[in-house]
Subunit: 308 residues, 2 copies
């Protein structure tokens, strides 16, 4: 089995590659990204997926493809044309190029818009309110139609907020949701820009990678969009757990209405369809913090080497 992963050198991509190594898959991997920071045992293809020749090379010999490459939300909002090229046209071309093969697209909870007005479940029809969410929703619709026509197999998996992204990650207005882990790990004070009762849908990168690898390797029934499970985290609860783990950390709260509205006004979420497909997320804040710390450092009691 030959698997291609796009965005493979990104934060989530690296975690998926680690997961595939950990489970010892016999699959042959082709990793695609604009550039790679380090060498590695897998075959690598560096270039831009908006280049048709590169997209053809990325898809030619694979049995299944996981598409993670994207222009993040903040950058998409600043450059809608670039978002269209990367977040819409590339997935549409992948759907066409991979006809009859397996394609897993990384979707996003951004399709629901900031601050959905009521609880979200598998029957909620998304209404996006950002460039990024709009292009993600458009790609979902095209994917669902291709599934209906039996022109593609696979799924679109809507990712919640994935923590903790590296401190240097750019283009994500949601950076505070990750930065608070790094600051706590480094024993530094951190002012969360949202109040204790603000709520976000979060999942560790480890759980996310397990879900994505499973979808890529799986041969389950074709699915249109599936909202992945996520933990709805109150920021006050997250601050309390981090303060207990890192007694030096002093986490305070401010209130930035725009960040609150976009990233921390998420209502209750239920995802029975994802559960039935075997996808999981952390069940509580302690488990989430454990999973994040385990990924950041071999010994969480020692703090986070990335943060030092």
């Amino acid at each position: 089995m030959r698997l291609t992963i796009t965005g493979a050198d990104g934060f989530v991509g690296r975690a998926v590659v680690r997961r595939l190594r950990d489970i010892g898959t016999a699959a042959e991997l082709l990793l695609v990204d604009r550039a790679f920071a380090d060498p590695g045992p897998e075959r690598r293809l560096a270039g831009d997926l908006t280049d048709p020749a590169l997209l053809a090379a990325a898809t030619r010999d694979c049995d299944a493809l996981l598409h993670l490459a994207a222009l993040p939300g903040g950058a998409a909002e600043r450059d809608p044309a670039a978002s269209r090229a990367i977040n819409l046209d590339v997935p549409l071309r992948l759907i066409e190029a991979l006809s009859d093969r397996r394609l897993v697209l990384a979707g996003s909870i951004a399709v629901f818009g900031a601050a959905p007005s009521g609880p979200v479940d598998d029957r909620t029809v998304p209404v996006p309110d950002s460039v990024y969410g709009t292009h993600k929703r458009m790609a979902e619709l095209a994917f669902a139609d291709a599934v209906r026509r039996s022109a593609i197999a696979g799924a679109v998996l809507r990712l919640p907020g994935i923590v903790a992204r590296p401190p240097a990650a750019t283009g994500f207005g949601s950076a505070f949701l990750s930065d608070v882990f790094h600051a706590a790990g480094a024993g530094q004070p951190y002012a969360l820009p949202v109040a204790p009762d603000a709520t976000s849908w979060l999942c560790s990168v480890r759980a996310c990678a397990v879900n994505l690898a499973s979808a890529l390797l799986g041969d389950g029934a074709e699915q249109a969009a599936v909202t992945l499970p996520a933990l709805r985290v109150r920021m006050g609860d997250l601050a309390a757990v981090l303060a207990r783990r890192f007694p030096g950390a002093a986490i305070t709260h401010a209130e930035d209405p725009a960040l609150r509205r976009t990233f921390a006004s998420y209502p209750p979420l239920t995802t029975p369809r994802a559960a039935a497909l075997g996808f999981t997320a952390e069940p509580d804040v302690d488990a989430l913090v454990d999973a994040v710390l385990a990924e950041l450092s071999p010994n969480p009691r020692q703090g986070c080497p990335q943060c030092a």
Copy 2:
């Protein structure tokens, strides 16, 4: 004011041009279509909008554009790639090309899918289930996002079934909804492929053209998608009214489950947003038949010249 109309030589396009002539607009018209059957006083541009040079010529000097050109549903289902090029990529390019100017896109009730499961109103979030409906919904989402960013002005108007299309119209599985008028007008028997209790959302081409011309000329607030008003017609009621008008017509009913599901299983529809914007449709079947006959023939009592 310079107005461009694409698909201007089509069934709906011709009706819009007639309407603009009737109201004596001072606007300068540029008509765009793949080809034109007849000459006329307006400037004409023949070619394919998927050609970037033609699209540039169509948009360069206009203040407002009405985009009617489309690949119909049946043809879209047979050739999804062509539908993507015509029904998705062209509207996306128009949104970009017309930034800050007025754009009215012809949308479609196909975005709601065949046989919506419950009554439809302005809060119903569409879930398409066809290639055509999917691309129309994707274009709606892109338009709504451009309106949100103040990158475009105008609206997407979702058209119901427009009657009576010419008998030769191809690519429309909904042809029976028009053909019954022509058969009745010619005093010929006609077997409707759906039962008397089947229901469709219909509007005369005249009312449709009035609505579209008004949207094109209007300078109302920017709108995302607006479902145009339509009359929910029971096929038995339509057959009865036509039989009364054309005593020679013998209209019977068969039942084709696929046609019933796709074109004649429409639930109750309420469109207060369209009403508030001044858009109208015929209030009852008699008015609908009147409007259709008036368009087909100068003297409805004499039958329809197109049908003879």
